[in-house]
């Protein structure tokens, strides 16, 4: 009879369910995980060091590329940190726009998470449904910023521009010539971006119900997630969990409520909390968060309709002047030139600002020595401590559960490797 012994299994870095470039070295006893050692850094681009060599504004697009499925929330943490250093505050309309787009981003992120998580553990259909809704929200991204993903829409002192009055429409193409079909696609795009979003918030809860019918009571889904990766509340705190990972373990902690920023103290929403701290509870928490995000978006739409106003501060040492002023006014031209060549200097000091990103607490720590570039920028990625807990969460589970764990952590390497 052959001797039975532990062996080491290499998982990734190119594996479809590794969600990017995760390499796991697993020590296995048969099919049971004894120890797992995640090797990260394959996507390390040195964002923090790059930011040290750039004026503050030029780093905003880098923030999109950190957690590349919740782009605007990363920007939000960064611009808030710089605003805090400068001692300025964005106008109220910009705060509402940021709140709305943070929640749009949260839905985008959770749709991505739900689709891939379900796909990884065997449910194909949800993936297609989720990506259908992501498409609508990415059109909103595109409508305000011109980019579907890497928006660079939040600026220090506000947002790049006000919401557009017109929603882009589908045009006839080689693939799509049928007039009736085009009219159907463009039906909810006749008005402004806010009209489109209002329509979205009306039909979205029904769509979430659709996802839930596929998963929530699904026998296979429950077998794969209930009781997998259980983390107690005390342990979750000690391991540095945040966001849905912490709430899934039953800790009611949400920065949007506890340390409100932007317009979160002016909108109404609830924080869902799990009970058992397993993958299934974290799934339920995130599904409920999607519904709450929808509520917040709706409130922001209503407010933004009734309250026009500036969306970026008027201080042209920090925010660029209007294009017309730049073309016709000497002072505007000088401001524009200085701002885009040299940027602005911040007072010396250090600042930490955190937002409740979709995955947890995304923090930006800036040390400034008074220059036009940060002296040191540290990005606190929520996924980093979550992935660190992989060893502890996977111990004693089967190999197939590793995939469920990667899914439940909502791992994205853009932010973990930075």
């Amino acid at each position: 009879m052959p001797e039975i012994r532990n062996y080491t299994l290499n998982f990734g870095p190119q594996h479809p369910s590794a969600h990017g470039v995760l390499r796991l070295v697993l020590e296995m006893d048969g099919e049971v995980i004894e120890r797992s050692d995640p090797h990260i850094g394959l996507l390390h681009r040195g964002t923090e060091k790059l930011a040290e060599t750039k004026p503050y504004n030029q780093s905003i697009p880098y923030m999109d590329r950190l957690d590349y499925v919740s782009m605007m929330q990363n920007e939000h943490a960064y611009v808030r940190a710089v605003e805090k250093l400068l001692g300025i505050e964005a106008p109220i309309r910009a705060q509402y726009i940021r709140t709305m787009f943070d929640e749009i981003t949260r839905i985008l992120n959770h749709m991505m998470w739900l689709g891939t998580h379900a796909l990884d553990i065997g449910a194909m259909t949800v993936f297609l449904y989720c990506f259908r809704e992501r498409e609508d929200l990415m059109d909103c991204y595109e409508a305000v910023s011109g980019a579907r993903m890497h928006a660079a829409y939040y600026r220090v002192g506000g947002v790049y521009r006000d919401l557009p009055d017109e929603m882009p429409r589908f045009k006839p193409s080689n693939l799509q010539r049928d007039k009736a079909e085009l009219d159907r696609l463009n039906e909810n795009r006749q008005g402004s971006l806010l009209d489109f979003l209002e329509d979205f918030t009306n039909r979205f809860p029904g769509l979430v119900d659709e996802y839930e019918t596929l998963l929530t009571d699904n026998r296979i889904w429950k077998q794969r997630t209930v009781g997998i990766g259980v983390v107690s509340p005390e342990r979750a705190k000690a391991l540095g969990f945040s966001g849905p990972m912490l709430r899934g373990s039953g800790v009611a902690w949400d920065l949007r409520k506890k340390q409100p920023y932007a317009a979160y103290d002016k909108v109404d929403f609830d924080i869902p909390v799990g009970q058992n701290g397993d993958c299934y509870d974290r799934y339920l928490v995130r599904i409920e968060e999607i519904r709450q995000s929808n509520r917040i978006i709706r409130q922001c739409v209503d407010w933004l309709r009734d309250n026009p106003g500036p969306v970026i501060i008027e201080d042209h040492k920090i925010a660029p002047p209007k294009r017309a002023a730049m073309k016709s006014d000497m002072e505007g031209l000088i401001h524009h030139f200085k701002l885009f060549s040299e940027g602005y200097c911040t007072p010396p000091g250090e600042v930490y600002s955190a937002v409740e990103a979709s995955k947890g607490e995304f923090g930006v720590y800036i040390i400034s020595d008074g220059a036009n570039k940060p002296y040191r920028l540290k990005l606190r990625a929520p996924g980093f401590p979550h992935l660190m807990a992989m060893d502890e969460m996977a111990k004693g589970h089967m190999l197939a559960d590793v995939v469920a764990l990667i899914g439940t952590m909502d791992i994205v390497f853009g932010e973990i490797d930075r």
Binding site: H44, N372, R380, M388
Partner: protein, 232 residues
């Protein structure tokens, strides 16, 4: 819940600062405040004591270590363009790229900890300076298990050693990487570049061919000089 629901964050911070002074003042800790945040500067020999007390102490309860990072202060306050004399002499076009770094100063490296108390809704920053010659500090993994990877990262990027860390390996850089890339004396473009060599039929490392360049010079101007009168 406790009083965190009824008091404002400023009041809670003021209370915290008082408690910190009483508890850690005798240990040589110092408090810096600014922008609504508090920093406790801890002498490195007391780090683990202070951390344990901050986690368990009744007045603190910082059960979460949110972030830990290294900082290299050797280029602090250095600019590449002299701006204060510029209005009388005009700008030089050249950028002084190779500013002199203070590589031997006693306060070159620091480790910064960001703490969060979920129960009391408080944040605190700790900073501990590390010896420059032998950058070593006690590990806080025993206090907050989450410090594990954060300390590996600080070791990888800055070369700060954490005494008592269970597994101090590199984490973000490549296998076999040489140097600590986030130190200020490490060039942005790095030292080596990598390509596939068809003759050797493997990947080879070579010294970088990129010329370092500065697109926007680093300038330091007096803060708030354009703002209202009170700052002048």
């Amino acid at each position: 819940m406790n009083d965190s629901a009824t008091t404002t964050s400023d009041e809670r911070l003021a209370e915290l600062v008082e408690a910190l002074i009483i508890a850690f003042g005798p240990k040589g800790c110092r408090i810096e405040q600014g922008l609504g945040e508090a920093t406790l500067v801890v002498p490195r020999e007391h780090l683990v004591d202070v951390a344990t007390e901050l986690r368990d102490g009744e007045a603190f309860g910082f059960e979460q270590l949110i972030d830990l990072c290294g900082v290299d202060y050797s280029a602090y306050g250095q600019a590449e363009w002299e701006t204060s004399r510029a209005s009388s002499t005009g700008f030089g076009r050249g950028v002084e790229r190779d500013a002199e770094l203070d590589l031997t100063g006693s306060e070159r490296f620091a480790v910064v900890y960001h703490l969060l108390s979920v129960g009391r809704n408080l944040r605190l920053r700790l900073r501990a300076h590390v010896d420059t010659e032998q950058p070593m500090i006690d590990s806080v993994v025993s206090v907050w298990p989450v410090a594990d990877w954060f300390e590996r990262e600080a070791f990888d990027l800055f070369g700060i050693l954490f005494d008592g860390h269970p597994d101090l390996r590199r984490i973000l850089t490549d296998y076999g990487f040489v140097g600590h890339p986030f130190r200020k004396d490490f060039p942005l473009s790095g030292h080596v570049e990598m390509r596939y060599d068809p003759e050797l039929a493997r990947v080879v490392y070579e010294p970088v061919k990129i010329e370092p360049r500065t697109l926007v010079p680093r300038v330091i101007r007096k803060a708030g000089r354009h703002q209202n009168v009170e700052s002048n």
